[in-house]
Symmetry: C2
Subunit: 112 residues, 2 copies
């Protein structure tokens, strides 16, 4: 289906466990880092990962429901972005320290 105006939870209603679960998965963490690496939003299509579209859609839904990302629809395509400020208000420091951490698998898979 085409992206039809997604619903986003209020960050106040999101529980910590939900956010942690959302971030506790390699692919999703990678998406979050990818979004954090650039200011503003990213086009869905440009989220280039070695997974099926349906899988990506699934992960984005989980991140959305966890209040971590938000989607904006424009015509038939959509743009994704982090809800950094709101998240910071709800879970101060969480996103920052998660992004700050560079572990082995992450430092090694991008550029040399």
């Amino acid at each position: 289906m085409a992206p039809r105006e997604h619903t986003h939870p209020a960050v106040e209603d999101v529980e910590l466990v939900t956010v942690l679960s959302a971030l506790a998965e390699p692919t999703r963490l990678r998406i979050v880092r990818m979004l954090a690496a650039m200011e503003g939003e990213r086009a869905w299509k440009d989220i280039d990962l070695p997974i099926a579209q349906s899988t990506l859609s699934h992960h984005l839904k989980i991140l959305r429901n966890a209040g971590v990302v938000q989607s904006r629809t424009e015509g038939t395509r959509c743009f994704v972005s982090l809800r950094e400020e709101e998240l910071e208000g709800r879970f101060p420091g969480l996103l920052e320290c998660v992004l700050a951490c560079r572990d082995a698998w992450n430092g090694g898979h991008q550029a040399p």
Copy 2:
């Protein structure tokens, strides 16, 4: 079996996803909060939760493998504690902000 000198990973070898996964479970998060609420260590027996002993043992193993807690054996009983400082060195701010968050389910189930 009796507690026989557990093995603990070096925090440097622990990946972020592993820690997040360990914390992304209500029961385990509760254990971590419980341990944080008191200075020093806590006797295994005093970890009073509505779960089977085998389940508790299982969760503690996961937290241990994630470098979140450590166990000390004394005779036939053991004591559990948070690896706060080490964790802070590996993932600065993470434990702190996870503990700082008080969400609905957590604020509501203890005292009024």
